[in-house]
Symmetry: C2
């Protein structure tokens, strides 16, 4: 009785069977606790946040008290949505039909993924994902009861032929893809692949859910066209992104580009989910963006993170020889994907590396759909790691791979 | 093809069958368009927002850049949660076991209601609600597939005997109740009723979901103890509230008190739903609250809204005689509930009143569970109405009731 009511008989199937806790956070916390060199971060580097500009931008947000009322338009502040639509068009990410009215402001990218999942997933629905893919999206899809099927991927992302084999067997609700500098694999699909995948979506008649948070963190020129832009008037692509990487993740500000047939459903979901981020927050971010040279900011971020990528890649090339570990070199984003044929229990190795050698990585398992886990894989982030720290950390990591024994 | 992909085959049962648009917003918009005297508002009055205090409180929020990172604790900023827990204890709303760690910060009260609905409702689950009750909660419960059964209510809220009759027939997931100054009925349950209802919850072994946003808008002394406090160590009450009425609704800041067995499920739902409101927003509100004489603010609000309630009640007493309309006098909150035996199509009457007489009210239908609609009812809000405007508006409303004909 001291514990009180158990709630056992009251939980939904979702709460009983389909909610998971993230395995990623635990490893990041352990690395912090041990004072290790941490390659675990999935977030941008705090030294690159535009703090002074934010201070300035938020000064006037209380001058318009209507922002403190319930909003007339729960899709979000129209000037912010128009800024986003215009930016996307300038950058070749959005086709002609996309205007401010087609943009829904969300509480970070994650809320948009949750809302789309509620609108498109029934228990048992089959969806296609890259294998591996972003763990928290997998968790959200599974929360709604989705069966997530991984499409075999190589260094250019999804393999269209492998996708068609799956499509011949199963009717799918949508394909979820992070086409640029994917989390966790760092992979980017080239244009030809995108066109083939879009053609398959047309032929087998399903939509594409495109998640593009790393778009502006491209270190070797502009990424290939977005699925949203490539689909054009076909409008079968739901696109999501956020300011988490270009501004700061703690601002919790993302958006969806909503195809017309989904507008009403997402409006109703938005009302249920609390009407979206506070007006003053949207206004402050709009003030920031409208006074900012966004392209210059993107270049600043690209220069800073490119140096970190290069440092990490150089360290891996220098130290990893002879360890049997293979890693890729991404063209943008935060992540390098690694594989060791010899290590078959990567969570155990990761604990060994952080405890014995003082270096933290993220085991790859949670990024795979269930029953497709490649236990040999791991993720390295360079987002918050200077080239010097990368060199020392990778030296330790290589030592760990050499000395680790599974018995 | 100009319209593009239809998404018809891709929608979830939720999106196809269970999402509704709010009928309330339409009536409020019509009243605005027609320049009518509007009694439609479900929101606080902008002249009572603490704008200067908010400006001051937000000045320092960018000094701690860690607030711009992903948070370590997705339940929210611990100092804000501890402020809330302490406040609730001081005010006799929370029992001893409730501390800051038991508080989950939400994007307004609505997000908390959505999260609890996901955790406790399966398609077909039966839940009990007051009849009438808050329309947006009904929409959220139905979105998850709940069958909402209304418990017959009188001017003292839920009738315990009527509730027991329902409990004998159906197993319920929970009772949803707004015990103080309910939206839309203005009703408050006295202590004896609460104790009887809590006893039924124990006997029939279900939890209570208590929604208490109007707590501090009490115009005649302190409201009776909350279900949360009355249940004590039994811990069968989930409690939600928000700062929408005490500070401003556009801040989108609410909370849940989470019983221990639900902590993990709500944590997972929080991660899926985008990690909660931005850290700087939580910090700004914490700064505001910790520098504010909250009790004095509550008194200011009570004095202002009491005057408006009195004005509206006086106007109704003065003008409504002979119209056959019955209204109540609430002890707090924003709402008066009305009924006209003669009007059987209240939406039609409401359009007539706004178009012909220039006064806006909200028809009562949407506030009832489906198939229990009392078509004679309507809601009047005095939240944003001075006694002078109330007098003129009610004069018009009475004229409308006298002259309106259904044929």
């Amino acid at each position: 009785m001291a514990q009180g009511f158990s709630f056992h008989g009251q939980l939904s199937a979702m709460a009983r069977e389909r909610l998971e806790s993230s395995a990623i956070g635990d490893m990041a916390r352990l690395a912090n606790e041990k004072g290790a060199i941490s390659f675990t971060a999935g977030e941008p580097s705090a030294d690159l946040f535009p703090v002074e500009e934010l201070k300035e931008a938020f000064k006037g947000v209380f001058d318009d008290p209507s922002l403190l009322c319930y909003s007339d338009d729960d899709y979000g502040l129209i000037e912010l949505r128009e800024w986003i639509a215009a930016r996307m068009k300038t950058d070749g990410i959005a086709p002609g039909w996309v205007g401010g009215r087609d943009i829904l402001i969300t509480n970070g990218g994650a809320e948009g993924i949750d809302m789309v999942s509620q609108a498109l997933i029934d228990p048992g629905s089959v969806i296609l994902v890259e294998s591996p893919t972003f763990v928290e999206s997998l968790m959200t899809f599974r929360k709604q009861g989705a069966v997530c099927l991984g499409v075999p991927s190589d260094d250019d992302g999804i393999i269209p032929r492998a996708m068609e084999e799956l499509l011949k067997k199963r009717k799918v609700r949508f394909l979820y893809t992070i086409p640029n500098f994917q989390n966790p694999s760092g992979r980017t699909s080239p244009l030809e692949r995108r066109l083939e995948i879009l053609e398959l979506a047309r032929r087998y008649d399903f939509p594409i859910f495109e998640d593009d948070p790393y778009h502006y963190l491209s270190y070797e020129g502009t990424p290939p066209g977005s699925y949203l832009e490539l689909a054009g008037e076909d409008r079968r692509v739901i696109h999501t992104s956020s300011f988490s990487k270009t501004l700061a993740p703690g601002l919790r500000m993302g958006w969806l580009v909503v195809p017309p047939p989904l507008v009403d459903a997402l409006y109703a979901l938005r009302v249920s989910a609390g009407f979206g981020p506070a007006g003053i927050l949207q206004k402050g971010i709009y003030n920031l963006l409208s006074n900012m040279d966004f392209e210059a900011r993107a270049r600043t971020l690209q220069d800073a993170y490119r140096e970190r990528r290069d440092g990490m890649a150089a360290a891996l090339a220098k130290h990893m020889e002879g360890t049997g570990v293979k890693t890729n070199v991404p063209k943008g984003g935060f992540f390098i994907w690694g594989r060791s044929e010899r290590v078959t229990d990567m969570p155990r190795f990761a604990r060994y590396a952080v405890e014995e050698k003082g270096v933290g990585i993220i085991p790859g398992g949670p990024f795979f759909p269930l029953q497709e886990i490649d236990p040999h894989t791991f993720r390295v982030s360079y987002a918050k790691v200077s080239p010097e720290r990368a060199d020392e950390g990778v030296r330790r990591l290589a030592e760990a791979f050499r000395e680790y024994r599974e018995d």
